[in-house]
């Protein structure tokens, strides 16, 4: 049984309107690579130009934030669910 990647609503238009996709992946990084290879338009919304996961993209394996695990090297096993959760932030430009 492969790993399931849950795609958040704002990214579904770039993933053939799918809510999830499944891949045979051994790590979170691998699964996200497969995901953005299959749906190339997703790449710029998940990764910076130098290939790092954007800071406002939260990734969970089952219920664990990968920042507290091994980040993108976090190992996955069959049946795991990887969730991409938008981090929401903003604010006016001036510093005070």
């Amino acid at each position: 049984m492969p790993v399931k990647v849950m795609i958040p609503t704002p990214l579904r238009p770039y993933a053939g309107k799918r809510a999830s996709a499944e891949f045979n992946a051994g790590t979170v990084g691998e699964a996200l690579t497969y995901l953005t290879t299959e749906y190339a338009d997703l790449r710029k919304h998940l990764f910076t130009e130098d290939g790092k996961l954007r800071s406002f993209v939260n990734v969970y394996v089952n219920d664990e934030d990968i920042r507290y695990l091994a980040k993108e090297n976090t190992a996955t096993k069959d049946g795991d669910t990887i969730s991409i959760i938008p981090s929401i932030a903003g604010g006016c430009c001036c510093s005070r």
Partner: protein
Amino acid sequence: MAGETTLWISSHLAERIRAHGAETYPYECCGALLGRDPEAADPEAVREVLALFPLLNRRDDSPRNRFSLTGQDVLDADRAAQKQGMEVIGWYHSHPDHPARPSQYDQDHAWPWYSYVIVSVQNGAPQDMSSWRLNDDRQAFSPEGIEIRHRAAV
């Protein structure tokens, strides 16, 4: 994002966003816009805000010019929407003593598809309100029309 978009909102909910901005002044307020997005079924249909999910600004270090939400806040908003048969269609926040236009910081942290509503609050009084959507290439926001509907909130 294709073409010009419009966000519908009742006058009652629009007023609640303004009131939230006034309440947290001089700090930024924030919350989720819940509603239904018919775009998938009908590209010509408009997106409508049917409820709000006010949240706490988690940026304790710089709340006058920044806001942020935790992953849990986002999940809570999603669950609140699902319970009402809706989805999170966007987010709102205030710009204290600053125009209702997205900053570079807003753009850098934005997601596509969502509607981003900004209310300007000048000296504690809410002023203009605008809505924006991030372009597909992430290089700019496009303004989204706000249509105030004068009927009871759902």
